[in-house]
């Protein structure tokens, strides 16, 4: 018994050492980023990694503000597009997953296989013609093309389906029916609350991805009133000959702050974890 306890303690120590090491590794780039936001461009060019803050925060902010765009507008646009995309993805993926779990319909299995196939289409293929299409329907300089495609997020549907299989009891659905609730009402009022933990987890993934995406917005949004935060940071990098690194890092830090807030708000669901069922059951 004693040796078992000793070995448990050794294992536990190893676990703590590994976890603490990984945690430090996780925090490190953020630290470098925040510290560089307080350093001047030339300090950064000399040593891009430093753990000593400097005193150029104000002047970096002046450079950032002195550009021909407004960081506040960028923040609002980023919020709208990422928030919109996340809502679309989370709501409609839950709805599709519910359709796959709660109803038995003829094309259910083929449809699920189809979703798995969609998952496999590489992004580089789906992107072909996307821009062209947006141009044709006049959706350039609009946040809509950043929001609506999120409705079809196959990987999230898969995740939600597995979650529903583990947690959904059809008795709830049936008793709601007996009470005379419509199907749509049942989904919105009874099923969605059950799915909250899974939705929160997936919301973090989607929000992070959408918030950081640069290329599609960069091409679609050419009007400075529509710029998102990453576009503004990218513009700070301007051209290779003259890059305001201090302001770039400040911009990156500002970009990541809202993500922090959202992430930590939703993190209780990551801590608690969500339960995903296996295929059968």
């Amino acid at each position: 018994m004693k040796s078992l306890k000793a070995s448990t303690n050794i294992t536990k120590t190893i676990i703590y050492v590994v976890c603490i090491f990984l945690a430090i590794l996780s925090v490190f780039p953020f630290l470098v980023m925040f510290i560089n936001a307080t350093r001047s461009t030339f300090q950064i060019q000399q040593d891009s990694v430093s753990l000593l803050p400097s005193k150029y925060l104000a002047s970096n902010w002046a450079v950032f503000k002195g550009k021909s765009f407004n960081p506040v507008v960028g923040f609002v646009n980023s919020m709208l597009s990422s928030g919109g995309a996340t809502l679309c993805a989370v709501y409609f993926s839950s709805l599709t997953a519910y359709a796959l779990v709660a109803y038995s319909w003829k094309l259910r299995q083929p449809f699920f296989t189809f979703i798995l196939a969609v998952l496999m289409i590489p992004a580089q293929v789906t992107g072909i013609g996307f821009y062209q299409f947006m141009y044709r329907i006049g959706w350039t300089n609009s946040l809509l093309p950043l929001i609506f495609p999120a409705i079809a997020s196959p990987s999230m549907v898969f995740f939600m389906r597995q979650y529903l299989m583990a947690t959904l009891s059809l008795d709830i659905v049936n008793s709601a029916r007996i009470d005379g609730a419509g199907e749509f009402y049942t989904f919105n009022r009874i099923i969605l609350p059950i799915m909250k933990p899974a939705m929160a987890t997936q919301a973090i993934f989607t929000f992070v991805f959408s918030w950081n995406s640069l290329f599609i917005p960069l091409i679609l949004l050419t009007n400075s009133k529509k710029y998102t935060m990453p576009i503004m940071v990218s513009l700070l990098r301007g051209d290779i000959y003259k890059t305001e690194y201090g302001a770039v890092y400040l911009g990156l830090s500002l970009t990541v702050l809202p993500l922090f807030v959202i992430y930590f708000l939703l993190s209780k669901y990551i801590i608690a974890g969500v339960a995903l069922g296996a295929l059968k059951e």
Binding site: C19, A99, V118, P122, I270
Partner: protein, 321 residues
């Protein structure tokens, strides 16, 4: 579980409409478009019209015979394996640690939250940061190694093919293991807890429990992690591009980067780029199918077959009545 009321079947269709419509508009159309371009002579900036080739598969043949493309496929596979194997092992290990009932790890919540954090930062920032970390002739890693006496003179890491690949693989690994871990933990939490209890009563060690109970029941979720990671790995693009632009000497030139270069590095070979991405698509489909096949649940297949039979019989009986 299975009799869900036939009357409600139409809602299954109705609730799937938004997904299907969005997919058709935003994904299917562009996909078909690419496939078509692959069979044409469309190249050169500003070209508006294109003709179908007399030999429809010319672009595909050219790409398949392109030594750089072949090399890039190998590079992609190598870097993916270098990042995926440690990634899945570490996230499984962490999953085991965080879900086992034997060790009550304190600060678990904080660890989970922190370990996911590398995923929040943009790939561009990370790539540039690592480029500086491994700087030559002076850079933090070189300084550190020299201080510890591991190196006598600064090493030109950016010129070492395997170091460069290792760094790219490491970044990819480090950005995504937290994500995989969260999904895998979710999978473990979905396993019926009575199974673990029973095993514990039978005196199984936590290692046994993990391999005999947890892992087999994690199959579906593992498959999901495998497939998404494989697709992500085959599309690896911005880290290799921003870290060393595919260098040194094409050591980190991935297939996606190759495709990008076809279309963007000066000759605008759209038709070849399209052909190359269709080839990539086929490779992904084949590999995914293989994964599905390898990890398919034999019991489930049987179960489904039986189910189908049962429904058919039920229908027949219904017709008879």
């Amino acid at each position: 579980m299975r009799n869900k009321g036939v009357n409600y079947a139409k809602y299954g269709y109705i609730f799937s409409i938004p997904f299907v419509l969005t997919f058709l508009i935003f994904s299917l159309y562009p996909t078909i478009f690419t496939a078509v371009i692959g069979f044409t002579d469309l190249r050169g900036m500003g070209r508006t019209e294109f003709n179908f080739l007399k030999q429809p598969f010319d672009n595909f043949v050219l790409i398949l015979n392109n030594p750089t493309f072949r090399k890039s496929l190998g590079t992609t596979a190598i870097i993916w394996l270098m990042n995926f194997i440690p990634q899945i092992l570490l996230s499984l290990l962490l999953t085991a640690w965080f879900t086992t009932r034997r060790f009550k790890i304190r600060g678990q919540g904080a660890f989970k939250v922190l370990l996911y954090m590398p995923n929040i930062i943009t790939a561009a920032t990370i790539a540039i940061l690592f480029n500086s970390l491994f700087g030559y002739p002076k850079g933090p890693v070189n300084d550190l190694f020299m201080r510890f006496g591991w190196l006598d003179a600064p090493a030109n890491f950016h010129m070492q093919k395997w170091t460069a690949r290792g760094v790219v693989a490491f970044i990819q690994f480090w950005m995504w293991y937290g994500n995989s871990m969260i999904v895998l933990i979710a999978g473990v939490l979905g396993i019926d807890p009575t199974l673990f209890e029973a095993a514990e009563i039978d005196g199984a060690t936590s290692t046994q429990i993990f391999f005999k109970i947890t892992l087999p029941r994690l199959k579906t979720i593992l498959l999901y992690v495998l497939i998404t990671s494989m697709i992500g790995g085959l599309q690896m693009f911005d880290i290799p591009r921003l870290f060393l632009w595919g260098g040194p000497d094409s050591a980190t030139l991935t297939a996606s980067l190759f495709i990008y270069n076809q279309a963007f590095s000066g000759s605008y070979l759209y038709n070849r780029a399209a052909a190359a991405s269709m080839i990539m698509f086929l490779i992904i489909v084949v590999l995914s199918a293989a994964l599905f096949h390898l990890m398919r649940d034999k019991d489930e297949a049987k179960f489904r077959k039986a189910e189908r039979l049962r429904i058919r019989n039920a229908k027949k009986q219904g017709e008879l009545v």
